[in-house]
């Protein structure tokens, strides 16, 4: 029963997402320009990708890792620019390397000191971000090179997305899906019981590193659209919303992908209605609205549901008491 409900929901979400464009064309006079189409497509692809990958981050209690890693990517962007100029490939590779180094540094601090995870994340976040800012100021001072566009990695600039970025997102999305499908069992095991996984002979470190790499790749791809500050919301909001509706990992990942795609696409469409509304923040607001809806309405777990059941229980209890009292 629960199974079918979630799959129906996913289908309804996707249908609603597809219908959203003609609807807003008819109701709000949306002009479906090339930019809007590309941004909406990019937003939904990124939403789907980060929704799926974010599930593992949320379930492993590493929600804020995404925040630290996205900030940690900034010096990589700057170094990539210094070494190779303004080529998206170089910037993304640099971002990936820096973000991955940040991940290793967090792990090293946790392994060798008694500092807890939150502080370790904070140290890496702040110092890498500072390094990034220092490098960006240095780049700004270079005479020949204007740092045009590097700022967009901080706040995200959806309008800068072009068709080739979509192709990149699609290709990486496919690769990530493939890795998830191939190593599904391993990822599931390490997410829910890492100790059992390593006791069972699984190469825990390797799988762990691979899962973290997936998160890093997703973050790096999302930087251009959402920016380093808001990327963590992209990563975890769809996963948290999906978690409320189901107890199965399979359903959660697919539902989170659908919710993420919906938030990404509709956020982009809404922001296209008014030129003053930035895309990245709008996507985050839509995603949070989905979380709020899920927390309130989700059957079995949601706040509303629990209150109903509580009232039911109370009535039941009262009638029982009357029976025995009589």
């Amino acid at each position: 029963m629960a199974e079918r409900r979630v799959w129906a929901m996913i289908a309804a979400l996707l249908a609603l997402g597809v219908l959203l464009v003609p609807l807003s064309q008819a109701l709000f006079g949306l002009r479906l320009t090339y930019t809007v189409r590309v941004v909406a497509l990019g937003g939904s692809l990124l939403g789907a990708l980060s929704g799926a990958v974010g599930c593992f981050a949320v379930l492993r209690r590493e929600s804020l890792l995404g925040d630290a890693l996205s900030h940690a990517a900034l010096p990589g962007v700057a170094v990539g620019f210094l070494l190779a100029g303004r080529q998206l490939g170089a910037l993304l590779v640099g971002a990936g390397i820096a973000s991955w180094l940040g991940l290793r540094l967090v792990a090293a601090i946790l392994r060798t000191t008694r500092i807890k995870q939150d502080a370790a994340l904070g140290i890496v976040l702040a110092s890498f971000f500072a390094a990034g800012i220092a490098l960006l100021t240095y780049i700004q001072s270079l005479p020949e090179a204007s740092q045009a566009g590097l700022d967009s990695f901080i706040f995200g600039q959806a309008a800068a997305i072009i068709a080739s970025d979509i192709a990149l997102l699609g290709a990486v999305g496919l690769a990530v899906t493939l890795v998830l499908a191939l190593l599904w069992k391993e990822f599931k095991l390490i997410t829910f019981d890492a100790e059992f996984a390593s006791a069972g002979g699984l190469r825990g470190g390797l799988i762990d590193a691979l899962l973290s790499t997936l998160i890093v790749v997703t973050i790096v791809l999302g930087l251009q659209l959402a920016g380093v500050i808001l990327m963590v919301g992209m990563l975890i909001a769809p996963a948290i919303a999906a978690r409320q509706w189901t107890h199965s990992l399979e359903q959660m990942v697919v539902l989170a992908a659908a919710l993420g795609a919906f938030a990404g696409g509709s956020g982009a469409v809404i922001s296209a209605l008014d030129s003053d509304i930035p895309t990245g923040p709008m996507i985050i607001v839509v995603a949070f609205a989905l979380v709020a809806l899920s927390i309130t309405l989700a059957p079995g777990r949601g706040v509303l549901w629990r209150q109903l059941r509580q009232r039911e229980n109370r009535r039941h209890f009262r009638s029982r008491r009357l029976e025995t009292g009589a």
Binding site: L64, L82, I115, K116, D118, I123, S127, A130
Partner: protein, 504 residues
């Protein structure tokens, strides 16, 4: 605020002349270092408690959402027709409210039982920050809330934003048309009306005063209206703001030290003793928000979290005492703020030039990067703090990497010694003596390399625990005593009754 500033300057003027004070404050380096140190002191004191409570990243969330508070207060103020200024008390109230709002939102999400603590935090602050960004770009135009201000602040310009205070020759001047310095001018009364030039003969004139009005002492002096220079002190506003916040923070920690300590280490006990840990937590969060907004001008909304997290984390690796952390972390933060200015100008700790590093990179990788390094001050301060943290991490006499490695090597060596001694003790004088203890093959029983066995034996021989007899290793009297002492120690440590296995 102004009165406070004036009292402070009067105090200072007892020790230095006003020229020296002005010269000191007009130096960007002095003001930036001073403001940085004050932020570092506030951040380090509050951050110590955040770190110990596992709430370090709450400062991250608060510093982001403070932006929402600032924007909302700003919109309300412009709506009410007030001048917007980031040191206005209403902005501070808004920011504090936003900070508390973040904590409340996170707690509500967490208490619903549906979202974990870290996830709740990760949900709450991107949402509030996103709303702030949307509001800025949708409703607030031409504010100085631009990217740079949000990200890095302008600590290097802190010296330029001053209040002026006058102490001597402070006549504020009113120039009336009768005043000897008044400059009379002829102004055409009907030129605009008739659209004629003043040369036209129909033009009518009247005498007006060109420079009449009220002059502050500073304006009067610069307009050359005073014979004697007024004694003026230009005091940067950020220093005042941060001084007040530092006084608040230090006062809070001093007054509630006992309560803070108790609720930090044992909230349940504190509650059962009648304290209210939640109230104290909220007070702490309000202070964090206030410091975040006070530091917003200087270091922006993201880098400020370094002041809350990095110095306490470094101090945490140096000491086990709360009082020690509260003393050490402001020192570390202050040192970061002090040396950070040098780093922004290209000198790490005033010793290592960054330019040479870039030159080396250019030489190695064949790049053509500009060697002169001139960078963001606030980012450099954070980087310096990070360098200090790494130094502490490696060198801390208590928990440093070096000490830990030495300690680990020592205990590994001790373990090896004990294993060998126990082996010899077990087999000495038994029928298997000749097989088990033959020096040439001893290493096989431990699956060690012969080299390692030799090293261990040499050490044990040097200690006088082991000697060699007919090709076998045997315990000396001293070694035997050592083994027994060790056995006794183990039995006591694990609370096992001492039964001699050789006795039936």
């Amino acid at each position: 605020m102004m009165g406070l500033e004036r009292a402070l300057i009067e105090l200072l003027l007892r020790f230095v002349t006003h020229d020296a004070l002005n010269a000191f404050l007009r130096s960007p380096q002095h003001t930036a270092s001073l403001v940085g140190c004050l932020i570092a002191i506030c951040g380090a004191l509050l951050g110590t408690f955040l770190l110990l409570r596992g709430l370090s990243l709450t400062s991250d969330a608060i510093s982001h959402t403070v932006l929402l508070g600032i924007v909302l207060a700003f919109m309300l103020m412009t709506g009410a027709g007030l001048e917007g200024d980031t040191s206005s008390p209403w902005l501070i109230v808004g920011a504090a409210a936003a900070g508390v709002g973040t904590v409340v939102l996170t707690e509500t999400l967490h208490r619903s039982g549906l979202v974990r603590q870290d996830a709740a935090l990760g949900l709450a602050f991107p949402l509030l920050f996103a709303i702030a960004v949307i509001l800025v770009s949708r409703f607030v135009d031409d504010v100085h809330l631009d990217d740079d201000a949000v990200l890095v602040g302008e600590i290097g310009l802190a010296w330029a934003n001053t209040n002026s205070h006058c102490f001597e020759h402070c006549e504020s001047l009113r120039i009336t048309p009768e005043h000897p310095a008044a400059q009379q001018m002829r102004q055409c009364v009907n030129c605009r009306e008739l659209t004629i030039s003043p040369r036209d003969e129909r033009a009518e004139f009247r005498e007006v005063c060109g420079n009449c009005g009220v002059y502050t002492p500073a304006q009067a002096w610069s307009a050359g209206l005073l014979d004697e220079a007024p004694t003026l002190v230009f005091f940067p506003k950020s220093i005042t703001v941060m001084l007040v916040l530092t006084a608040l923070t230090v006062g809070f920690v001093a007054v509630f030290y006992k309560e803070l300590k108790l609720t930090t280490f044992d909230a349940a006990l504190a509650k059962s003793l009648g304290f209210r840990p939640a109230a104290l937590t909220y007070a702490l969060m309000i202070l964090v928000s206030l410091v975040a907004v006070g530091a917003f001008d200087a270091v922006g909304s993201i880098l400020v979290i370094a002041f809350f997290i990095i110095p306490p984390a470094a101090a945490y690796l140096l000491t086990d005492r709360l009082s020690g952390m509260l003393l050490l972390s402001p020192v570390i933060g202050g040192a970061g703020a002090f040396f950070g200015y040098d780093l922004a100008r290209g000198w790490l700790f005033g010793m290592l030039p960054v330019a040479e590093g870039i030159a080396a990179l250019n030489a190695i990788f064949g790049l053509q990067l500009r060697e002169a390094w001139d960078s963001s001050i606030s980012a450099s301060v954070v980087l310096t703090m990070f360098v200090l943290f790494v130094l502490v991490w490696i060198l801390s006499p208590r928990y440093g990497l070096v000490v830990s490695a030495v300690r680990r090597a020592n205990s590994r060596r001790r373990f090896d010694d004990q294993v060998v001694l126990a082996h010899i003790h077990n087999h000495q004088g038994t029928p298997s003596h000749a097989i088990e203890l033959r020096a040439a093959t001893l290493h096989q029983h431990f699956r060690w390399t012969p080299q390692k066995m030799n090293r261990v034996l040499m050490r044990l021989r040097a200690l006088g625990f082991v000697s060699q007899e007919a090709g076998s290793a045997i315990l000396t009297q001293r070694g035997d005593a050592h083994v027994h002492a060790f056995r006794k120690q183990l039995l006591v440590a694990h609370n096992i009754p001492d039964i001699d296995p050789t006795q039936p």
